[in-house]
Amino acid sequence: MKVNVVLFGTMRKYAKEDKFQMEFEEGAKLSDLLDRLKIEDRVYIIVLVNGRRADEDTVLTDGANVHILTPVGGG
């Protein structure tokens, strides 16, 4: 199955593009996606899967939209 990924802000450094697709076996979890992008455990991120906050155990589904964000607090 394929999932759509968008990286925002300081997350951009984990891939060449800010928007791309990734292929996974059925049953893959968000932790698998984060591992493949080599996003370290200690990095503070908010991940939305189909617009809802997700955690590492969230199971990915075909066509899911995954947004990996960090809050930007400057003004």
Binding site: F8, G9, R12, Y44, P71
Partner: protein
């Protein structure tokens, strides 16, 4: 010469518009006291001709009260465009004074105001831009103790603060008071915007539930910011506030807008309300 001719053209449009509105006013029995002055018709002529705005919209802007929290990189363009558009009452909150390191992005302030309170500097700059706007300076630090009294007199709140902590304070107070909030943040080349209409869409906490631990997320002081980014994002905040006041278009409710100034892309996340949100959860609204 060309400019002069252009202005005469605008004046003709202005008087045509006046004629239409006057006739409508007569039919509706609207008194002259509600009409714009000649100066205002000239000043706002370019937005009065927009069918969605017109004199009725201008009157809504005139009676609107908007609070801009933060008179820095985001607050500068937000406050300037709101004042220029004729928002009648503009509150400004900031505890800082103008510093030389601000001027690279905080375009409300200039070298002549170094050392002056930002809210006072902003008040003077906005008075030069549009003396018809009532600017209310609030020189203070926003806390969970003083925030509800601060936002109470205003119709719409624009969050333009320079730290994450205050975003949560402002978000929670707006959700509690049921006040529309235009929320935005920037860092380096990136920005995000979300319009919060309590009860209608997610609030800031629905997406970012808790304040990150100290040091987990860099600040502008640490990571930097290029001034044009808050220029773009703060301008969007002003436009969102104007849309909310006028009841126009589709505000960014439930749509987190992400701006990447390096890639020059806009991404939109359709974000849902979190039923367990610490601020707006519980299915109430």
């Amino acid at each position: 010469m060309g400019r002069h001719t252009g202005d005469e053209g605008a004046a003709r449009l202005r008087w045509q518009s006046h004629g239409r509105e006057a006739a409508t006013g007569l039919l509706r029995g609207v008194g002259d006291s509600e009409m714009l002055t000649n100066d205002e018709r000239m000043r706002y002529s370019r937005q009065l001709v927009i069918p969605e705005i017109g004199e009725a919209g201008q009157e809504k802007l005139r009676v609107a009260k908007v609070l801009v929290v933060g008179a820095g990189g985001l607050g500068s363009p937000a406050a300037m465009y709101l004042a220029a558009a004729g928002v009648g009452t503009l509150g400004l909150v900031d505890s800082d004074v103008v510093d030389l390191s601000n001027l690279q992005r905080q375009i409300l302030h200039g070298v002549n105001h170094l050392g002056l309170a930002k809210v006072e500097s902003a008040k003077r700059a906005l008075a030069r831009l549009n003396p018809g706007v009532h600017v209310v300076p609030h020189r203070m630090t926003v806390t969970s103790e003083n925030v509800s009294g601060l936002i109470e007199p205003y119709d719409v709140v624009v969050d333009a603060v320079d730290n994450l902590e205050t975003r949560y304070v402002v978000n929670d107070a707006c959700v509690k008071a049921g006040k529309p909030l235009i929320e935005a943040g920037v860092l380096r080349f990136d920005g995000m915007v979300l319009t919060v209409i309590p009860g209608e869409g997610p609030c800031y906490r629905c997406i970012f539930p808790v304040l990150p631990p100290p040091g987990a997320v860099p600040s502008c002081r640490e990571a930097g910011i290029i001034g044009a980014v808050p220029g773009v994002v703060g301008s969007i905040e002003a436009l969102e506030a104007i849309k909310v006041i006028l009841g126009l278009g589709q505000p960014l409710v439930g749509r987190l807008l992400l701006f990447d100034g390096l890639a020059m892309t806009w991404r939109e996340v359709n974000a849902a309300r979190d039923p367990n949100c610490p601020a707006c959860g519980g299915g109430r609204g």
